[in-house]
């Protein structure tokens, strides 16, 4: 008698919690995620300029147009490029700095703050600042070039270098964030393991290779996740720097969506890009969580 009553109390308590706490999240999620995505999917079947109701149903033609567009290929390539650079340069850089700065020495905190500062800066402001830095006539970079007696390049004006210029800013802006993630993880590590290894005669390198870094794996996986999702969302840094140009050479998926969908009043076409981007993001998020972050 008393045990069933207790059990009932426990389940009803759980039920109350579910009834109380689930709806707000569910409503918000439905309202701001499910519905817009569904709407975008619906619009993507129309040739529609945003005025009135969509009536001109064209099926999957918008998707054909997207896949045919050269800018789409370039945007995809650039997004992959950003991911590769984030993983290949940014993360190792962040990890190295984190390992150096996680230890306590004079100036460590100041250095951490310094490296973290770019992340605090707003994206648009960063983009504007760097558009001045890169300016081939009056910019800082032009000054450096002239100092060595060379003709300064216009990095943002060439299809060959525009993406390079953006990648430099991306790495500069976000490595501090990943460094902070690593530092936090490093400081949470159990120092006894390191001490034990040192007593057993492990060298600094061995400790790093076999203890510190393996213990960081969950954080590294998280950091990779952030880097990839962040690269897929990259937009506000690109707009003030190049607006995706010249000749779409520095377009990302989102800037492509904006400049070819929204500003052209091609809501159907833009929605198709949005749906494609959504599918890419969801596929990545689900598989990554399933394969790599299962144990975290």
């Amino acid at each position: 008698m008393s045990t069933t009553a207790l059990g009932r109390a426990a389940t009803s308590g759980k039920l109350t919690a579910v009834v109380l706490f689930l709806p707000p999240a569910l409503v918000l999620f439905t309202l701001f995620v499910i519905l817009p995505v569904g709407e975008a999917a619906w619009y993507s079947g129309f040739n529609w300029n945003g005025f009135g109701r969509p009536t001109n149903w064209i099926g999957f033609t918008n998707y054909d147009y997207v896949f045919e567009a050269r800018a789409f290929g370039l945007a995809l390539r650039n997004n992959v490029l950003i991911i590769v650079i984030s993983l290949g340069i940014q993360l190792p850089l962040a990890l190295t700095l984190a390992i150096l700065l996680a230890e306590k020495f004079r100036g460590a905190v100041a250095l951490r703050m310094l490296f973290f500062l770019p992340y605090v800066l707003a994206e648009v402001a960063t983009g504007l600042i760097f558009s001045f830095v890169y300016d081939g006539d009056y910019g800082l970079l032009a000054g450096v070039w002239r100092f060595f007696g060379a003709e300064p390049p216009h990095l943002l004006a060439s299809t060959q270098t525009s993406m390079l210029a953006i990648l430099i800013v991306v790495v500069w802006k976000y490595f501090g964030f990943h460094m902070m993630l690593f530092i936090a993880a490093l400081q949470g590590q159990d120092q006894h393991l390191v001490e034990a290894a040192r007593i057993d005669g492990a060298s600094r390198w061995q400790v790093l290779r076999h203890i510190t870094i393996p213990l960081l794996y969950p954080t590294i996986r998280l950091s990779v996740f952030f880097a990839v999702v962040g690269s897929l969302q990259l937009f506000d840094l690109v707009m003030p720097l190049t607006r995706g140009g010249p000749a779409d050479s520095s377009q990302t998926m989102v800037s492509f969506l904006y400049s070819h969908g929204v500003t052209r009043m091609r809501i159907g076409y833009g929605s198709a890009i949005g749906v494609i981007l959504f599918v890419i993001c969801v596929t990545f998020a689900v598989t990554y969580k399933r394969w790599f972050m299962r144990d975290d």
Partner: protein
């Protein structure tokens, strides 16, 4: 409690009766894109005058930045809070708005005003005989030049009459070590002037209208292929400033104002802007600045007097109070037009208002526009936001060397076929 309520109602009723019409406030929401504070000052004066003449009406000015205005407008127009008067460049966007039924048909209320406006400008805001807005300003695209720099290469800007004259001038300037042309290539539309003005010269009005109907190969036809070929002749001379594809339009305008390039193919209003955007805020002074119309081309079917430029106007949205139409009519009245023209802010559309232009430079532009029988609106407005942007993209790529004239024409025609 009830007593208090009743007495409150009574008081309110008394107040309403005694105050009369002044309580029946109508607010007219007027959305604009103007950034020049000197011009806005005059606009505000005009609004206050209108309020004084029409008690009970309040004109509320709302501002949006150019690009965000274009992006936001479709949503804005379909909300309950839509502005009553909106800015327009006519063309394809106006067409879409008319078809969507978000604009008010103001044909009957504006008959008398429409008769005072030049027919060409008025036709831009007329669709199937119905009037949806009133124009208030127009502009011309042409070659702005710096007399001092031209003299260095012993070139006379005013003598540029033909395409070959222009090519020769560019070559001479290059040889003299002067940057011949500056352009805001990052914004793309400054580059589309080359291609489209060539098409105006090559095909004339008939050529453009045929392309719209899909005749002669549409925008892939001979006229547009040749426009690309000729534009490429200019591009091949490498006449633009270093890094021109990274320059936004204001930067390029400042570059001209700083006296770093001899010429620029621009909208006539750049005459003012280059002063404001020059590093010294003085820019190229009136004695050193020149303007010459786009040169004629061999075999061109267009008249040399044909012009490319913009037509700007105000539209009244559906459900707007009648005061909105009255205000627009007031805004394009001869008196207000003369005031704005006199201050040099615009080329008026009301007949006779150009007499107020005291500035010789602007006077010349006004005369060019008055002489023109075919004033082509900017392609990126006229063809609608989607096809228009493809024209901008493709011509910028032609300038950057990543597209051939043939590909440009094909890209435009493909976009035209895809529709919106």
């Amino acid at each position: 409690m009830n007593a208090i309520k009743h007495s409150l109602y009574a008081a309110a009723a008394v107040l309403a009766v005694s105050a009369g019409p002044s309580l029946a406030q109508t607010t007219v929401k007027w959305m604009h894109l103007e950034v020049n504070p000197a011009q806005i000052k005059i606009w505000e004066e005009v609004a206050r005058e209108f309020e004084a003449k029409n008690p009970g009406t309040k004109i509320e000015m709302q501002f949006l930045e150019n690009e965000s205005y274009k992006a936001k407008l479709p949503t804005l127009l379909q909300s309950n809070d839509r502005p009553h008067i909106i800015y327009s460049w006519a063309g394809g966007v106006l067409k879409a708005q008319v078809e969507a039924g978000v604009l008010a048909d103001i044909t009957d209320q504006t008959k008398d005003t429409a008769a005072t406006i030049s027919a060409g400008a008025m036709s831009a805001f007329t669709r199937d005989g119905r009037v949806y807005g009133l124009p208030f300003a127009q502009s011309q695209v042409g070659i702005l030049y710096n007399k001092e720099l031209m003299a260095k290469a012993k070139v006379d800007g005013s003598a540029i009459k033909t395409w070959d004259d222009w090519l020769a001038a560019i070559k001479a300037l290059k040889a003299a070590g002067v940057t011949p042309l500056t352009v805001g290539g990052a914004d793309k539309w400054p580059l589309h002037f080359y291609w489209t003005h060539l098409a105006v010269r090559l095909g004339g009005k008939a050529g453009f209208e045929a392309a719209l109907k899909g005749q002669n190969g549409g925008f892939e036809g001979e006229v547009f292929q040749k426009s690309g070929d000729l534009m490429k002749q200019i591009v091949d001379l490498q006449p633009f400033q270093n890094g021109f594809l990274g320059f936004k339009n204001p930067q390029s305008t400042g570059f001209f104002g700083d006296g770093k390039a001899a010429m620029s193919l621009v909208i006539s209003t750049v005459y003012h802007q280059q002063k404001a955007l020059a590093a010294d805020k003085v820019g190229i002074t009136d004695d050193k600045i020149g303007w010459v119309n786009f040169p004629s081309v061999p075999g061109g079917k267009g008249e040399p007097t044909d012009t490319l430029g913009g037509i700007n106007g105000w539209l009244v949205t559906k459900g707007a109070p009648k005061e909105a139409v009255e205000f627009v009519k007031h805004f394009v009245s001869k008196d207000v037009q003369m005031r704005l023209a006199g201050a040099g802010f615009l080329i008026p559309v009301v007949k006779g208002a150009d007499e107020a232009i005291s500035n010789a430079f602007m006077r010349n532009i006004a005369q060019n526009l008055a002489r023109s029988n075919y004033h082509q609106n900017f392609y990126d407005q006229d063809l609608g936001p989607s096809v228009g942007r493809v024209v901008n993209d493709a011509t910028a790529e032609l300038a950057g060397g990543s597209m051939t004239p043939r590909q440009v024409a094909k890209a435009v025609q493909d976009a035209f076929k895809q529709g919106n």
